[in-house]
């Protein structure tokens, strides 16, 4: 009966979650019901047997960056530390759909990261070679191969900044963000974890340097462990404890076109001609670019950012000229000085931190959940997230992923 292929997206289940009132105490509370908070609760329950947990969400579940991201998943980061974490996440993605018994629309359609200058070529080859040695599927492809992978891409040498080649990760792709959140939420709800919405954490209960609970808009909740997973809002929470963090919150915008017949077979990202594009299952083109320059919590970006992004889109994909922008939006992303996340212990006992994923943490969702749950359960970082400590800013052992992350993802 459906007329349009792909318009018949899988149905969601009839039951996803209940809306419990918060209890007065839990073994652990997770602050923030985005992808990271949900995944962390999930692996706390599944890997560490903890189910007396609440995920506290100030608004609607997964309505933060989880609702706003361009859903690109890949693991082809430069440094060993990142490669380890993102590749772990990617492996988990590969089994998550079955595990959650939810159609996440995880589609491994590959990602091309374009190089437009000789230096970008060097950097790309460097990253590909590092990826290979880290066991990540990665390839350097020349312009002709780029054109074969993505025929609608403009690989003409006449481009102002011609495509000189690309890195190609076949196992990369996209997944449907809401489905991921809801799949995790349903699993948690079934395991008896409380997903508490409209419950904003406003402060912390402390005994000396130990955090023993949170104050919320729905009352005080005691907790053996408190784990922050509040993305762009983390600084606001940390301020309550006088904990300064090396993160800045910026708007990051994205947009979609109307639904189109399938034209775009993969994911394309370009740092120099700045845009990234995929085509979602429903048929809309999903595009993003860089962050807006200034700090903001407004979930509202500037229009010139969109105009520039469209210029890049039409340069790289001339056929997009008469596609239409249907909707633009923004999220609040938490950016660190080295474009890598922060995950680990804090100066406060019983308080754990996961933030700084900035423009690219969706792809890490299950990996974050896995490692962060370990950190919380064992009071010690998992080896994969140990390098992502706060201390690195003091020692200088930064994990500079500006090159691999671009300004976004």
């Amino acid at each position: 009966m459906p007329r349009t292929p792909g318009a018949d997206l899988p149905e969601h289940p009839d039951r996803l979650w209940h809306n419990p009132d918060p209890k007065s105490s839990y073994d652990a509370v997770i602050v923030g019901g985005g992808g990271h908070g949900l995944a962390t609760a999930y692996y706390l329950a599944v890997n560490h047997g903890m189910t007396d947990i609440a995920v506290l969400e100030s608004g609607w579940l997964a309505g933060g960056n989880m609702a706003r991201n361009t859903t690109i998943i890949r693991s082809n980061y430069l440094w060993d530390e990142s490669a380890g974490l993102y590749e772990h996440a990617l492996k988990l993605w590969e089994g998550l759909e079955d595990e959650l018994d939810y159609p996440l629309l995880f589609s491994q359609r590959g990602v091309l990261n374009l190089a437009h200058s000789l230096q970008e070529v060097r950097d790309s080859v460097r990253r590909v070679e590092a990826n290979k040695l880290n066991g990540i599927d990665a390839e350097w492809v020349d312009p002709q191969q780029v054109a074969e992978i993505c025929p609608i891409l403009n690989t003409s040498p006449d481009l102002r900044y011609p495509v000189l080649g690309a890195t190609w990760q076949p196992r990369a792709g996209i997944a449907k963000h809401d489905h991921v959140a809801w799949g995790l939420a349903r699993a948690l709800d079934r395991m008896g974890v409380d997903l508490v919405q409209n419950c904003q954490v406003t402060g912390f209960e402390r005994v000396g340097d130990r955090v023993v609970g949170v104050r919320t808009t729905r009352g005080t909740i005691h907790a053996g462990k408190v784990a922050l997973a509040a993305a762009g809002q983390t600084s606001v929470l940390a301020d309550e404890l006088g904990l300064r963090l090396p993160i800045q919150s910026h708007p990051l915008q994205a947009l979609v076109s109307e639904l189109l017949e399938p034209v775009h077979p993969t994911v394309v990202m370009s740092n120099a001609v700045h845009v990234y594009v995929s085509q979602a299952h429903k048929g809309e083109l999903v595009l993003g670019a860089g962050i807006d320059s200034y700090n903001s919590y407004s979930r509202h970006g500037a229009f010139h950012t969109i105009e520039r992004e469209m210029t890049a889109a039409v340069e790289l994909f001339p056929m997009f000229a008469r596609a239409h922008v249907l909707r633009t939006w923004a999220g609040t992303v938490d950016v660190t000085p080295d474009a890598s996340a922060i995950m680990g212990l804090t100066p406060f006992e019983g308080l754990y931190i996961n933030c700084g994923w900035g423009t690219g943490g969706f792809k890490a969702t299950p990996g974050v959940g896995w490692c962060y749950a370990h950190t919380i359960a064992h009071d010690e970082p998992h080896p994969l997230n140990a390098p992502f400590s706060l201390e690195r800013f003091t020692t200088g052992a930064l994990i500079d992923e500006h090159g691999a992350a671009g300004v976004a993802h």
Binding site: P246, N295, A302, F393
Partner: protein
């Protein structure tokens, strides 16, 4: 597209400016005398308030002067007293 009040050139589009993050971050008097922690604070740690933020901008495409603004990071509203009595130079 914010309209930023350059104290010299008047209100101009955001695209003429370069953002410089938090204002009033002081370079230590004697960097060699501070601890690694304090040095890291200077290098990397910045306020990130939800609300009024004292921040630096440089009028890159105009007079090339740096100046300080107080802007609300929720609404992008610029505190109006800054429009009338702008800080001309700042100490980071």
């Amino acid at each position: 597209m914010l309209l930023l009040p350059c104290p010299w050139c008047g209100p101009r589009n955001e695209t003429e400016f370069h953002y410089g993050g938090q204002a009033h971050v002081r370079y230590p008097d004697d960097p060699q005398a501070v601890s690694d922690e304090e040095w890291a604070q200077f290098l990397f740690f910045r306020d990130n308030p939800k609300g009024t933020f004292a921040e630096r901008w440089s009028h890159r495409m105009g007079c090339r002067r740096w100046f300080t603004l107080h802007r609300d990071t929720r609404t992008h509203e610029i505190r109006t007293d800054d429009r009338t009595s702008p800080a001309r130079t700042v100490t980071r």
